[in-house]
Symmetry: C2
Subunit: 333 residues, 2 copies
DNA sequence: TGAGTCAATCGAAGCGTTTCGATAGCCGCC
DNA sequence: GGCGGCTATCGAAACGCTTCGATTGACTCA
């Protein structure tokens, strides 16, 4: 492994000059710059990350804290993770992956041993036990999701209340009078997951404002639960013509089961879904509000960077939902 | 941040003694050991990862190289990733996440800047461009998947040929005479992905041995492709009674479409699937050969550790498939 | 012409570990 | 009673970088 002093010798300058060429923190003559860069390339020099971290107390590593639950929609999760890596690389950062199962202790471990400069925490819940820990770490963190009391921590999320209102409006404007929400699994509500609750609130408000008859069902993504849920809705509310599905994992099954029951989308029943549009995989292109994963992640990473550069104004950023029109909502009357 | 010398002072010993207590590389009196450990705990000392890496040339970080393709089944992917983190932590390692889109250069970057001790590479293909790079890195790597020429690199994978034979045997033993394989998307075969080819070979061999009539279809996971594929099979081969599905992403759609066409599983058509058993989510519990993700990862991580400790015998480990019985295979005749 | 300014560079200290050799004390033994 | 062999410990060097202060010229301006 070639070191900075070998580069320095090769270029006929001091090691500090090489360092300054690399960091640009002091002005360097064009000629020297050229010589140093040539040497670097010729020798294939790469700064030693550990040495750099030691001297500068910067690791250029972002810790990504991932939930280790099985009740989360994996594809959505994965999109997050890959987006984070990509976004981080654009800021010359690498990503250290942590799972929540090590708990708060894991966060402390990584923070205290200076393995990362900042934390990105996914799937934050209303009353998340990690929050107090994060707050007292000496490193900034950005939450994906909004806890009840963000106090001092930066948050990024989709504005789920607005998303719900948008879904309801979409159906109301098409003339639907009687709709239902198929939401997250019961356990998600019990856990007090913030996004589910915010969506629910938005849904309730909007249905009231529009004067719709509306129902709500928490629903696990498995076959039986979906079947039961639909059975329930369709028999109890024969007038039902619109469905808002806020449960990516169950969506496929919901559509399959509607079909099995002879309900055509959108002729018999209209559907608006929240989550990534897997349009190509469906029989009918769905009207959806996609989760703006990449935007959220980009913003989250940028907030981290900003916090690391001192301009620290912890803020909560709720992204405006954008509806992506499909063919799953039919006009009524 | 408290440093080793503060601990040393607090415990009334030298810094090196503290280091030896921590590493156990020299014998320390019980009394000293106790005092040092008390100080460590009292001060909340955590060794600085960078300093440690610098002095010992060990980072205790494993680089996980993840594909950044969209044609991969995300849930399977995610299981891998989380398993790696968990397995690594058991060896006191952390995980740095890399995506393949930075290409071979990314591997070099991380290796040369000493950010990780070893590499774990997912989704390795027959003729993977990363292989030559990995081979010339100064750090060990373990591949998940088997390339044509592993030469010098450790590999771990499911024995897909055996898995295919097992699937075929399962159907043959139940008296099926005419079966078909619904395989990976065409692009996967075109790319020369090793696991798909190995499975195919095993399937061909086994159907020949058992004297079955057999067909094979590469199939994308989207609705249209699956529909077309089934339409094809069911009309061309009216005698078809068994299906081997080696395409996790398409499985759900395959089952839904069978149902739509009025074919009942297993009465009309038997199904054996390869991949994680999502039994709870299906109408009929499937007979499957689950991907032994956790075992593979555990072995892969262990191989890395072994390589790092010198006992380096790069080997290819193919795991024996285990069938998990469901109710999706019916007896014929 | 001499003080002041500025750009470019250097040298050395310091970051927090690990590790190597040295040493001090102790024990047992001939 | 001196010597070899342990065990437990220490001190110092080394790891590869960043950064601070100092230095050297060259240039400006009164």
């Amino acid at each position: 492994m070639v070191s900075i002093s070998e580069v320095a010798k090769d270029a006929g300058v001091s090691a500090s000059t090489v360092s300054y060429v690399l960091s640009g923190k002091r002005s360097i003559s064009a000629e020297t710059q050229r010589r140093v860069e040539t040497s670097i390339r010729r020798l294939g020099y790469r700064p030693h990350a550990g040495a750099r971290a030691l001297a500068s107390s910067r690791t250029n590593v972002l810790a990504l804290v991932m939930p280790l639950r099985t009740d989360i929609h994996m594809p959505a999760m994965m999109r997050f993770v890959t987006s984070v890596v990509t976004a981080a690389r654009e800021h010359d950062y690498d990503v250290l992956l942590l799972t929540s199962d090590e708990g708060p202790a894991g966060l402390r471990r990584v923070a205290d041993s200076a393995m990362a400069d900042a934390f990105l925490v996914m799937e934050v819940e209303s009353d998340d036990p990690r929050i107090p820990v994060l707050r007292e770490l000496s490193r900034p963190s950005v939450l994906i999701g909004v806890p009840d009391d963000p106090g001092g921590l930066a948050c990024v999320d989709l504005d789920f209340a607005a998303a719900a209102r948008r879904c309801v409006a979409e159906l109301a404007e098409a003339g639907h009078q009687d709709i239902a929400l198929i939401g997250s699994p019961p356990v998600v509500y019990e856990r007090g997951t913030s996004f589910a609750q915010r969506f629910l609130r938005g849904y309730d408000d909007a249905t009231r404002e529009h004067g719709l008859r509306a129902a709500t069902r928490a629903c696990a993504p498995d076959y039986d639960a979906v079947g039961e849920c639909l059975e329930d809705l369709l028999t109890e509310r024969p007038e039902l013509t619109g469905l808002v599905v806020h449960n990516e994992a169950a969506l496929g099954t919901v559509l399959a089961e509607l079909r099995n029951r002879g309900r055509k989308v959108p002729e018999d029943i209209s559907v608006v879904a929240v989550g990534q549009d897997a349009a190509a995989h469906r029989e009918v292109p769905l009207t959806t509000i996609p989760l703006p994963t990449e935007d959220m992640v980009r913003i989250a990473v940028e907030l981290s960077m900003r916090a690391l550069n001192g301009s620290n104004t912890p803020e909560t950023r709720l992204l405006r939902p954008q509806i992506s029109p499909g063919e799953s909502v039919a006009q009524r009357r």
